[in-house]
């Protein structure tokens, strides 16, 4: 049994799930909304990269930057045009709005680029591999995933801990009312969170699209996995999501190797079991308001 390869592949997939879960968690933390459009927003941004690369014929780094810029804009636009106009919304209403945005984006993408599967290649290949230790084969793609994950996570750590905007985001998440009193423009914080989350989602989707194929539905399953990873981590804690992602990726890969036909559901079964024991996820924290 190629243990080393399964481990590394599992970790790489897990890092993808974890990163994508982060995109969900950032929005959930700031505005309590679960963004069901996250997958489709990332898919749409990936198609923008595809368009710039294959149809306009620009080099990859330009496509990459264009996709990220578009992702940020898309996030802000979704917040501005879908969520903000809702007057006195209920939480459920907002979640349904995100589902609507998801369908709209999926429809737009199939209309523009067609529903057939596309070849989308990024400079890191899945077939170029290195073997630093015998038995531990690491592909270029996995390497890229790890590096991206480390860069994004360390950036987020510094951002949330040391910058004014990061602190303001955390403050808004904990008490929107008080954040307003401090003179924080909470609307702007929400828009920023949406843009930020969308950029992380788009980065992950670009990486994932290199491993799978590119079509308007390709982010559906990774989104579900990432969401499950986020739930496993408690939906509130950033380390929790990452760990949830890794658990998800590893379980899926190992069990998938032993029982290939059960691969898609093993991870979900484990999540159900974990949630039976810890209903609020592995890392959920609760602060009870003191009077």
């Amino acid at each position: 049994m190629p243990f080393g390869q399964l481990l590394i592949d599992g970790l790489a997939m897990g890092a993808c799930y974890g990163l994508f879960g982060l995109a969900v968690v950032i929005i959930y933390k700031t505005s309590d909304v679960i963004n069901f459009a996250a997958g489709e927003m990332a898919m749409f941004s990936t198609f923008v990269a595809f368009h710039v690369l294959n149809i306009f014929g620009y080099p990859f780094w330009m496509a990459f930057i264009a996709a990220l810029a578009f992702a940020a804009l898309l996030g802000v636009l979704v917040d501005y045009f879908f969520l903000r106009p809702a007057k006195n919304p209920t939480l459920l209403g907002l979640i349904v709005i995100t589902i609507g945005a998801q369908m709209l984006l999926a429809g737009l993408a199939s209309w523009k680029w067609g529903a057939e599967q596309k070849q989308f290649s990024i400079p890191v290949s899945y077939s170029v591999t290195y073997e630093p230790i015998t038995g531990f084969i690491i592909s270029q793609w996995a390497l890229a995933v790890f590096i991206t994950a480390i860069v994004i996570v360390s950036f987020m750590f510094v951002f949330f801990k040391y910058t004014k905007m990061g602190t303001a985001m955390r403050a808004t998440q904990q008490n929107k009312h008080a954040a307003k009193i401090m003179g924080i423009k909470t609307d702007r914080v929400f828009a920023f969170a949406w843009g930020f989350s969308s950029v992380i989602g788009a980065t992950t989707a670009l990486l994932l699209s290199a491993k799978t194929i590119l079509d308007p539905g390709f982010m559906m399953e990774p989104f579900l996995r990432a969401f499950a990873a986020a739930v496993l981590g408690g939906l509130m804690s950033i380390p929790g999501v990452l760990l949830g992602g890794f658990i998800m990726g590893l379980i899926e890969n190992f069990f998938g190797y032993v029982w290939p036909s059960w691969k898609p559901i093993t991870a979900f079964v484990v999540i159900v079991l974990v949630l039976c024991v810890r209903p609020s996820g592995l890392f959920a924290k609760h602060y009870v308001k003191k009077v």
Partner: protein, 260 residues
């Protein structure tokens, strides 16, 4: 300094404020008194324009002027920038931020590093307790410390007017006294004008230089604390000093006062 002119605020179909007018002069400590549901907090929220999410037009009627400029159509962050600090009812600190982060976020609207630093020193001078705990999570502190934190946080925006909503809520009498002492200090040493909302009428009258009494969304008395202290109704209903027995020999628990 602050001039509130005939404002009305509605919660859906219920009129909470029926035309409130009052003024605050530079350097004053003004108290807004009244029982539950009188509209004290609503006044402060209206001044800060915190109902903006619910409705565009707010206050529905009347004007609010601060330093000669109308603020009743401005956004909350602009109002903070103009120099109104607000300590909300029930502290509302950020529970998962550290004490220091809580205080520094109070200076969110400011950009002068040097000024922020000296103001931080100033806050720690008023509340030495906060300095000891500056790395602790704010949610894990006691109620009194959280109240100090909320006041310190509001001071960081370098307000010209500080509005305090029930600083004594849930605190022991000794702690209440301490907090009021600090509020007095802030008023005298830092020259910050103070608008104080209180249920604890006795305490508030002791420390204020002018007081307004609210009932059901109307101002029913406005006078100096020395005068209000001698008022029969206030003595009986707010200060708990028993009035004379009635002719029939039993205490009257309710007495309707109409002020029109």
């Amino acid at each position: 300094m602050l001039k509130v002119n005939n404002i009305e605020t509605w919660y859906d179909l219920i009129r909470a404020l029926h035309g409130i007018s009052f003024q605050i002069k530079q350097g004053d400590v003004v108290a807004l008194l009244g029982s539950n549901g009188a509209g004290k907090t609503t006044i402060l929220k209206t001044i800060m324009r915190l109902f903006y999410d619910l409705k565009e037009e707010q206050p529905e009627k009347g004007t609010i002027e601060f330093l000669g400029e109308r603020i009743d159509r401005k956004d909350t962050d602009e109002i903070v920038k103009m120099g109104i600090g607000y300590v909300p009812e029930g502290r509302e600190v950020f529970p998962e931020l550290s004490v220091l982060e809580n205080i520094t976020i109070g200076a969110y609207t400011r950009n002068d590093r040097q000024g922020i630093k000296s103001d931080l020193e100033n806050v720690f001078r008023h509340f030495p307790r906060l300095k000891e705990r500056s790395n602790q999570q704010a949610g894990l502190m006691s109620g009194g410390e959280q109240q100090m934190l909320a006041i310190g946080r509001a001071l960081m925006s370098r307000p010209k007017l500080l509005m305090l909503d029930e600083p004594s809520l849930g605190l022991s009498p000794i702690l209440t006294k301490e907090i009021f002492g600090i509020i007095k200090d802030i008023n005298e040493k830092d020259g910050v004008t103070i608008l104080l909302v209180e249920q604890n009428v006795n305490m508030a009258l002791k420390y204020s230089s002018f007081a307004y009494l609210l009932e059901n969304g109307r101002i029913v008395r406005a006078d100096k604390p020395e005068v209000l202290r001698e008022d029969e109704d206030i003595k009986e209903f707010y200060l708990g000093i028993a009035a004379e027995q009635s002719v029939k020999g039993y205490k009257r628990y309710r007495r309707k006062v109409r002020f029109r």
